[in-house]
């Protein structure tokens, strides 16, 4: 199994609120191969973000197994998961969540502070990813000096600066206009096609899903159907 292969088996996730059990994911079986670009769609409350969190090691399943590469996430402690995330996962959020008092370069550099690297090595990496996202001339700008699209590019740069195996994006174009959304999705495509990153995007936007090679539809915590390159397939069986 490659380091970016994602496998979920019989995954169940339940939350408890005031002792009331709230099931979010039910008997979920899923495989995402290395280098795939997959979109995850579904109505609100269908469990999309929860699935993303499970794959990203931010949360653990109530039952079942979550395997990413050789790592069995449900068996790892919080400390191990945090360390694993820093090496293997890049996150992109809807609202970018950049640190407002840091420059673009400093924001991108943040994940690198977790590794034993010299300042010059970190600077070199940051410069490289800024070029990839097309913001080399904005490195010393603070977030409030950037447009929404530019901020999201910085967030993408931050997500890829550690060269993670997988990139998890939660509504990356949710706050952007159509033109800027297209630019962001094109960039994600580039990361997938040129750099071989495995990408999972949670989205409500069909245009975003159209960029993905495969779209998974969740409903009420279950995988409802799957589409490949726009072709609709039959409802997914739980096998």
């Amino acid at each position: 199994m490659s380091s970016a292969d994602i496998q979920l088996r019989d995954v169940r996730k339940v939350y408890y609120k005031d002792r009331i059990e709230i099931p979010v994911l039910e008997q979920l079986n899923l495989h995402i191969g290395e280098g795939e670009f997959v979109a995850l769609m579904g109505p609100s409350g269908s469990g999309k973000s929860t699935l993303l969190h499970l794959i990203g090691g931010l949360d653990g399943p109530t039952a079942g197994s979550v395997r990413v590469g050789s790592a069995r996430l449900e068996q790892m402690t919080e400390r191990e998961l945090t360390s694993w995330r820093s090496r293997h996962v890049g996150f992109i959020f809807q609202m970018y969540h950049l640190v407002p008092v840091l420059t673009a370069a400093q924001n991108i550099e943040l994940p690198l502070l977790l590794f034993k690297m010299s300042a010059s090595q970190r600077r070199e990496r940051v410069t490289t990813v800024l070029s990839v996202v097309g913001l080399a001339d904005r490195m010393n700008h603070r977030p409030n000096q950037l447009s929404g699209g530019q901020e999201q590019r910085v967030a993408i740069a931050r997500a890829i600066v550690t060269d993670p195996d997988i990139i998890l994006a939660d509504e990356p174009t949710g706050d952007l206009d159509a033109k800027t959304s297209e630019e962001i999705l094109t960039l994600l495509n580039l990361l997938n096609s040129e750099f071989g990153k495995t990408i999972l995007v949670v989205t409500h936007d069909p245009r975003a899903a159209a960029h993905a090679k495969r779209t998974l539809h969740l409903d009420k915590g279950k995988l409802d159907r799957e589409e490949t390159n726009g072709l609709r397939e039959s409802a997914v069986s739980d096998s």
């Binding site: 945090t82 820093s86 996150f91 959020f93 969540h97 407002p100 008092v101 931050r158 509504e171």
Partner: protein
């Protein structure tokens, strides 16, 4: 990143820094005062001087003849080495409102009594030769532009308000004496004799130089016993206790200072704690993202705590530095404290203040840091979304 985070909300950071700065300025001055009192007390202990004054009040005169009786308690000079009668002159420079801490002293025993002033043989000879001789503190001399050999006049505020001329024979640079003025008591008594009109010759206090701390305690009992049940009953006390009479006239100053300092620290801690909690609440999403990208909980704890400590230290330095500079360049003179030393900034006070600031920073930042450490990333991210 820590410094940049303080610039996140510059106004709030500035106001919190000021909230630290002002109380810490007061705190460092208060602790300096307590340290100055302690330093003076230690110096007094070293000087081994016993003050003998009237039991009713140190403003009542004691007959000068009592000196011989005190000296007779130890003819072999094993316990006491000198006795010096001193009388308060209450001098004032004419046409000024400023009092001068001026004392008339027995000419023969003053040099031995105040050996720390270190009178050279020439100055001692001048003291003995010139009845108008005056020993003037360096600060006093600077204030009135008096130099060696200058003549000046002081007038007393005590009836019959004698007005005397003096000649400066020494400028005293010892730290405790920089605002003192000593002259010969026989010169004062001569002037009072001509205008005596019932004024007795006498002293306000006999200072007894003791050979040891043990001798001081035993002489204290013996002298008071000697004059018990006489019209001139005495109260003998060591120099620290005597000085304390002045400071305690205003209440328990050191105790008040320390209590005030603690209250100040407590208030600052509350303000800082509130600020840090507000800052934490604003940064929940950011801290959740830190954890999401791989920052361990312990590191997140440290980031939040370090910010609090930095704010506390910066604010404190803003308060301590100007206070230290001000008191170093213009040491405060506590005129109403009697023979109290000047209030100067104490390095110990600065260190204590910074340590207190560090502790306040840790105390104020601990709870938000702990909350940050325990923050469930998923819940916080869900809140963000």
């Amino acid at each position: 990143m820590l410094m940049q985070n303080l610039r996140r909300n510059p106004l709030r950071s500035a106001l919190t820094a000021v909230a630290f700065a002002l109380p810490m300025a007061v705190f460092v001055a208060a602790i300096s005062f307590v340290v100055a009192l302690d330093r003076m007390a230690k110096a007094n202990e070293k000087a081994l001087r016993l003050g003998v004054h009237h039991k009713t009040s140190f403003t009542n005169l004691l007959p000068q003849g009592m000196r011989r009786k005190i000296e007779a308690l130890d003819p072999d000079r094993r316990r006491l080495t000198a006795v010096c009668g001193m009388r308060w002159f209450g001098g004032r420079v004419p046409n000024t409102p400023n009092d001068v801490h001026s004392m008339a002293a027995d000419v023969d025993s003053f040099p031995a009594m105040y050996s720390e002033i270190k009178l050279s043989p020439e100055v001692t000879a001048a003291w003995e030769r010139e009845r108008r001789a005056a020993l003037v503190g360096a600060e006093l001399a600077e204030e009135y532009r008096w130099k060696l050999g200058d003549r000046m006049v002081l007038e007393s505020i005590i009836p019959p308000y004698p007005r005397l001329e003096f000649i400066v024979i020494k400028i005293m640079t010892e730290s405790r004496e920089t605002r003192s003025f000593y002259f010969r008591r026989d010169y004062l008594e001569e002037s009072l004799a001509s205008a005596r009109d019932g004024n007795p010759a006498g002293v306000h206090i006999f200072w007894v130089k003791c050979a040891s701390a043990g001798a001081l305690h035993s002489l204290q009992k013996d002298i008071d016993a000697l004059f018990a049940n006489t019209p001139d009953e005495t109260k003998s006390e060591d120099e620290n206790s005597f000085v304390a009479n002045f400071t305690q006239a205003l209440g328990d100053i050191p105790g008040l200072m320390q209590a005030m300092a603690l209250v100040v620290v407590f208030i600052v801690a509350m303000v800082a704690g509130n600020t840090m909690m507000m800052s934490f609440r604003e940064r929940i999403r950011e801290l959740a993202v830190f954890k999401a990208i791989g920052f361990q909980s312990g590191r997140v704890f440290f980031i939040v705590l370090a910010e609090s400590v930095m704010l506390a230290l910066i604010g404190s330095l803003i308060g301590i530095a100007p206070t230290a500079l001000l008191l170093t360049l213009t040491p405060a003179r506590l005129r109403s404290m009697g023979p109290m030393d000047a209030l100067e900034i104490s390095p110990l006070a600065v260190v204590i203040s910074l340590l207190i600031a560090l502790l306040v920073g840790i105390g104020a930042g601990f709870w938000p840091a702990y909350q940050a450490m325990r923050l469930r990333t998923v819940d916080a991210l869900r809140r963000i979304a």
